[in-house]
């Protein structure tokens, strides 16, 4: 018993930074999970990745002007993310170009601008911080931000649930009965940016999308309904956060990547043994019913 306690519980009881890291990661998982599910259902998982890169120049601008400070980097990230999301969205809705191409163009420009800006000032340690985050150094302000984002995300998704589902399931139908089609798309992109900016503090620009995409992708193998999928994605995110932080504590691994790796493990397991996973689909089905 005491070994288990020592391995699983004690680290969180003994150290304040572990408690804050855990709280931050849990809140991130709960907000980002459902957003990830809809990203996946809209075939936009890679868009999430692109958006995460798009945040970089904004955060870098905040960093250039004020150093490693939460508020300017957050606001910068939000602005940059919004510009890229709205710009790419507008190009795809108003011209012949599809969103994958416009999004790629916008995020590549943003990413290169961001890297140039970070390299103009700052050491490689700063660059590592921006790229990979520091979940173990989350302070009260960062936790407040993450908590706020999670609350906004859950409320918005509950309110717009029906429109979000209709916009994925049959967008043309939604357009024929309501004017919400385009607004709901942009509201959703806004939630993506918000969650990425929140995750950026803990996991950095490169991995903040991880808690969004991996649990959702894993949940697809277990459930057949959107609501269930969202709950499973949250649960996987929570488990990955706990196990990632413990791994990082016991084996001195970098904490952000350890969390995402744990989520990756959950994904791999789901692909293999999930209710709709490989083992089920590859098993030869010779027995069958008469109708």
């Amino acid at each position: 018993m005491s070994i288990l306690h020592e391995a699983l519980v004690a680290p969180f009881l003994e150290f304040g930074f572990m408690q804050r890291a855990l709280l931050g990661a849990l809140m991130l998982s709960i907000g980002a999970g459902p957003v990830g599910v809809f990203l996946m259902l809209r075939r936009m998982s890679l868009t999430g990745d692109a958006m995460a890169h798009a945040i970089l120049p904004g955060a870098a601008a905040g960093f250039l002007l004020y150093g490693l400070e939460l508020v300017p980097m957050t606001i910068g990230g939000l602005v940059a993310g919004a510009v890229v999301a709205l710009g790419a969205g507008a190009v795809s809705r108003l011209t012949v170009q599809k969103e994958d191409a416009s999004m790629a163009a916008f995020y590549l420009i943003a990413l290169s601008v961001g890297v140039v800006m970070v390299s103009m000032r700052g050491s490689s340690i700063d660059l590592m911080h921006v790229l990979f985050g520091t979940v173990l150094a989350l302070n009260g302000d960062a936790l407040t931000l993450i908590g706020l984002v999670a609350a906004i995300t859950l409320t918005t998704m509950l309110v717009f649930r029906r429109a979000l589902i209709a916009e994925c399931l049959d967008p043309l139908f939604l357009r024929s009965v309501s004017r919400l089609g385009s607004p709901v798309h942009f509201i959703f992109l806004g939630l993506v940016v918000l969650n990425l900016v929140a995750g950026f503090q803990a996991l950095g620009t490169l991995l903040s999308v991880g808690l969004m995409v991996l649990p959702a992708a894993a949940a697809r193998f277990w459930a057949n309904r959107v609501e269930t999928m969202c709950l499973i994605a949250m649960a996987i995110g929570v488990l990955a956060s706990v196990s990632g932080l413990l791994l990082s504590y016991h084996f001195s691994l970098p904490s952000g990547p350890a969390i995402i790796l744990s989520a990756g493990l959950a994904y791999a397991v789901s692909v293999l043994v999930g209710a709709r996973g490989l083992l089920t689909t590859l098993r030869p089905h010779t027995s069958h019913r008469i109708a």
């Binding site: 589902i165 209709a166 399931l169 043309l172 309501s178 919400l180 057949n224 309904r225």
Partner: protein, 259 residues
């Protein structure tokens, strides 16, 4: 005209400066059942989009009588069949006009969905995932959604494409039932025999309206021949159409006048 459900006034709809529906004028009587026929590229789907308001007119107007609830079943549905939804979820989308974004779905709504499913022959399919349905079953489910929408004006764009005869028969019966309930129905159809047998009215389009009125008269050989003479290709260098040119075909078609 007091009993007009839909009025076109010199309506031109199109894309990139080229008309797909050219100077259409006329009225669709409330409670009428009209087949919209014509070759590919003759403007049938474009007309539907114009009526729903998804495409703004280049000139002229298309007025749906105020207060009409419109249901539209597009030809190329953007339905994502891999989406994790059950048949009941898909059909329940039809409750949107009544319940909107936040209105709670009541017990009566669930009954309406169940009744619609049994009316299209999908009784007991509520909990089936939509990715397990065949093409015909999907089309039946989409008709059930139209039923749930309880619309006064129903627009169906080629609903019988790639559908077997039995399903077509069932769906035609449903359309006739709507007609009996005094709903106004416009259906884009390619099968002319189906039109002659089941539709009282027809509108023959060849970008311009060629004929509009009693279905059998509209589909008379001379009209079909005239329709065929309009070529469907875009002419990039076609001269600009000027409003004050007399248009031979731009007389207003008064569908309600046919005895």
């Amino acid at each position: 005209m007091p009993d007009a459900c839909l009025t076109f006034t010199d309506l031109t709809l199109g894309y990139g400066g080229h008309p797909a529906v050219h100077h259409l004028s006329g009225t669709v009587r409330k409670g009428s059942l009209t087949a919209v026929v014509g070759a590919n590229g003759s403007g049938k789907s474009t007309l539907m989009k114009g009526i729903v308001g998804m495409l703004a007119p280049m000139t002229g107007r298309c007025v749906v009588q105020p207060g009409m609830r419109v249901a539209y079943l597009p030809q190329q549905s953007e339905l994502d069949r891999s989406f994790p939804a059950r048949v009941a979820d898909l059909v329940s989308l039809g409750l949107w006009p009544r319940r909107g974004l936040l209105g709670r779905h009541r017990a009566g709504d669930r009954e309406a969905v169940a009744r619609a499913l049994s009316a299209v022959g999908l009784e007991g399919f509520e909990r089936r995932p939509i990715d397990t349905l065949s093409g015909g079953q999907i089309q039946r489910a989409l008709f059930a959604r139209v039923l749930v929408q309880d619309a006064d004006l129903i627009l169906l764009d080629e609903p019988f494409n790639a559908i077997d005869t039995r399903t077509v028969g069932d769906l035609v019966e449903l359309i006739k039932r709507w007609h009996g309930e005094e709903r106004t129905v416009l259906v884009v159809v390619h099968d002319l025999d189906l039109v002659r047998e089941n539709f009282p009215q027809a509108l023959l389009l060849a970008r311009r309206p060629v004929a509009w009125g009693d279905a059998r008269e509209t589909l008379a050989p001379e009209n079909l021949l005239r329709a065929r003479r309009f070529h469907e290709a875009w002419d990039e260098d076609a001269p600009w159409c000027e409003q004050d040119h007399g248009h031979g075909d731009s007389r207003a078609w008064e569908q309600g006048r046919v005895p």
